[in-house]
């Protein structure tokens, strides 16, 4: 931009004779255009900043805490709820969601950070009822330590597909864990997150992380009410039924 002022001056000289014809009328026009133009630029920058902040907004990354001494590795404590509730998400109170526990608080995030080449112990409180799997194949546990999970203390390697409420699946790590739902007849069903005290199932499993990387995880149960195939809305919005596992 260094050469511009001189350039500008020269052109002014060169065209000064010709400018007379349009001169007076145009300079006011120029002022108006400039005024409008700078307003547009300021507005544009503001809109640009808004768009950039929208595009880059993601749930906070939750670092898994160290597991209690005998087991080693790290601990993730999760829960699934049928409705996230107005306290967490006023715009989508009815959406189904995962939550994660950090410092004794339930946080609405699905991006977790775990160390590479280690064991991650997951404790999952399942507060949602069953919806059934679209592909019953995914009712079998795969890729966890021992290829099993424990549901309310019972160790199993598959569940009846129609009882699935959600799944916790990291396809690139080969981890497939079906999560059976709370029976419909159970009393004290949870309404909104956080559901502490309501009817639930406690599910635990462990998996090994591999190489460093950013892996996605998701639910495979058609649990998004009102959407085609049950796979819209919360099933396709980061922070509800999808997330990242950052292996660092």
């Amino acid at each position: 931009m260094g050469g511009f002022p001189g350039c500008l001056w020269r052109h002014r000289l060169a065209s000064s004779g010709e400018q007379v014809e349009w001169g007076a009328q145009l300079s006011t026009l120029a002022k108006k255009v400039l005024g409008v133009g700078s307003a547009v630029v300021v507005l544009g920058v503001l809109i640009g900043l808004y768009v950039a902040s929208w595009a880059t907004s993601q749930p906070n990354t939750i670092v898994a805490s160290a597991a209690p001494p005998p087991s080693g590795g790290t601990q993730l404590t999760l829960e699934t709820v049928a409705a996230i509730g107005p306290k967490y998400e006023p715009s989508h109170p009815d959406w189904v969601s995962y939550l994660v526990r950090k410092d004794n608080k339930w946080i609405h995030s699905t991006i977790y950070s775990v160390p590479a080449n280690s064991v991650v112990h997951v404790t999952l409180y399942q507060y949602d009822g069953d919806s059934g799997l679209r592909n019953p194949f995914l009712s079998q546990v795969q890729g966890t330590v021992g290829e099993t999970e424990t549901v309310d203390g019972k160790t199993i390697n598959s569940i009846p597909p129609e009882e699935a409420s959600h799944t916790f699946v990291i396809p690139q790590l080969g981890v497939f864990v079906p999560l059976p739902g709370v029976p419909e007849e159970a009393k004290n069903q949870c309404e909104f997150a956080p559901c502490e005290g309501a009817a639930h199932r406690t599910i635990t499993f462990s998996f090994r992380t591999g190489k460093k990387g950013r892996y996605r995880w998701q639910c495979f149960v058609p649990c998004a009410a009102g959407y085609i195939d049950g796979f819209g809305g919360p099933m396709q919005t980061l922070g509800y039924m999808d997330g990242f596992i950052n292996v660092v």
Binding site: S131, G132, L133, R134, N135, P136, F137, L138, S139, Q140, Q142, N157, S158, P160, P161, V169, P171, Q172, G174, F176, R216, Q218, F220, P222, C223, A224, A225, G226, Y227, I228, D229, G230, F231, M235, Q236, T237, L238, D242
Partner: protein
Amino acid sequence: MAAETHPGTPEPNHARRFTALWVISSLIATPLVIFLLGPSLPPGNGSEQASGHVTDNTVLLAMATPVLLLVVIYLIYASIFFRQPKGGVLEGPAVRGDSRVQTAWVVITSVLVLSLAAYGTVRLLADNGAGSGSGPKPLTVPKGPKLPVQVIAQQWAFTYRYPTYGGVETTHLELPDNEMVELHVTSIDVIHSFWAYKLGVKADANPGVDNIAFVKPTHEQSFEVRCSELCGIWHGYMFDKGHVVSPAAFETWIHEQQTKFAPATKVLPPYSKTYSPEPTRRAE
């Protein structure tokens, strides 16, 4: 012809010079493209279909090279020799067309295009769809035994079902070497597309449609499977590694899978061309 830039120097015979330039460079470049670039063209020789695509790509590139050279050399030639001198106000010759050139161009391009279409048709039919999804009833089917493998696409993973092995379903695709495979691609939700790039196979997975593609791997290898039709949030993460192994190793592997996935196989619906699981429309 009437417009002479410099009255002293005679106008060179542009037509002859340009034609010579083009013909010579095409004669040099086209063999280079065929013999040097051709063998290294994608998608490689992972399967008979992939090798066929390499041939097709080479043929198309060989046909495209002279056309590319014609226009590019023309543009360079014209911008060197057909310039207006600085500040000049010269006019070009007032020629409005040449019916012989125009007719020749129409005939040549038409012949070129028709032969391309004929070539493509022959290749498509001769190779039974050339690895692309050919619908539920392919026009041509390869002779001999075929291993049927079903690809079930869902948001957002592919799973594979082997109907001739008790309908076992697996998370990874494994194929025996040197055997014709009949892929039945279907979806249980939105449109996906099964793409095994190194095998030269691509077939869309539509809900309620059994899309058949044939592929015959030619050596043992691992290959990447990707989804190539936008299918939602994890479209980019819908990839998976597959393997081509020896027929013996394949038998061992598939029996391992039958044992491993016995609990899941028990609850699977019977093998079918397509599936429409609950909820068929909106979830409650």
